[in-house]
């Protein structure tokens, strides 16, 4: 194994993780809910599709608004880190579709099963995390070292 020391950012990543944990704790203790992004997105989306009221989803929509505005808050203090996407539109569409179907089928993503699930020692979440991490490792291996 070959560690990429140039890009390794242990302190920023550990601190960023702690901030994510803090937000998760706040949402859980204040609103009694899991801060799982897939679920927070899916719930108002389902209400829209079904034509039912968005009332119960207002706090989720505001959570999403908070995510969308986070880079603007960041820019008040520092420039945003440069984000590079190394695939084209077609791949982005396929990837987005797979993520959308996958997180609904598995009922959660990196936050709901990853952060929240592992924090409450859920075997169900661990199974999902192992599946998506494993698939992520295999996909990057195939794209970068096989194809």
């Amino acid at each position: 194994m070959n560690i990429d020391w140039t890009h390794f950012s242990p302190w920023a990543s550990l601190a960023g993780g702690a901030v994510i944990g803090l937000a998760t704790a706040l949402y859980l203790l204040a609103n009694g809910r899991i801060a799982g992004i897939a679920g927070i997105l899916a719930s108002p989306l389902r209400a829209l599709m079904a034509g039912t009221t968005l009332g119960p989803d207002v706090n989720r929509l505001l959570f999403i608004l908070g995510l969308l505005l986070a880079p603007w808050a960041w820019r008040l203090v520092a420039p945003l880190p440069v984000a590079v996407v190394d695939v084209g539109t077609g791949s982005l569409l396929v990837a987005g579709l797979l993520v959308g179907v996958g997180v609904r089928m598995g009922n959660g993503c990196t936050s709901g099963h990853g952060v929240c699930g592992l924090s409450r020692f859920s075997g169900r979440s661990l199974a999902n995390v192992l599946a998506f991490m494993g698939a992520g490792f295999v996909t990057v291996f195939v794209l970068r070292h096989v194809l």
Partner: protein, 142 residues
């Protein structure tokens, strides 16, 4: 009040994602590339988040109601079935292709990144496809 907490939680969550490096798809793929030059940073993101998460869930379990008076909705589902694992595999494959998972994609969209907009549109489409066509009766989250 729960709306204020919703917004503030989302804002802090998003700032954490930026600080952690999760909004940089190439960095995420560097973490997933075990056979290349491996960047282990994202393992520390999980570690930092779970360290606080464990404390938060331990506190939450001792409460009947949240600070705003809502019932504590901690998932009770323990079923490990094919849908759970297949869903994880599909999600991980998409994550590996683009380097985006749902939260960071929304943050990147907010920053005005065009490729994130394409990804998020397809992701929302995927969610609708699942709920409408693949499992119209299934609901619930996490």
């Amino acid at each position: 009040m729960s709306n204020v907490f919703g917004f503030v939680s989302g804002l802090i969550f998003g700032i954490g994602l930026i600080l952690a490096g999760m909004t940089q798809p190439l960095k995420v793929k560097g973490f997933l590339d075990l056979a290349g030059a491996w960047d282990p940073s994202l393992a520390l993101v999980m570690g930092g988040a779970i360290a606080l998460g464990v404390v938060a869930f331990a506190m939450a379990r001792r409460r009947e109601r949240s600070w705003t008076g809502a019932p504590m909705e901690i998932p009770t589902n323990r079923t490990i079935d094919r849908r759970l694992v297949t869903g994880g595999v599909l999600f991980g494959t998409g994550w590996g292709i683009a380097g985006f998972c749902p939260g960071p994609a929304l943050v990147a969209l907010g920053s005005g990144m065009g490729s994130a907009a394409i990804f998020v549109a397809a992701m929302l489409g995927g969610m609708v496809v699942h709920d409408k066509l693949l499992a119209p009766r299934v609901s619930g989250r996490a």
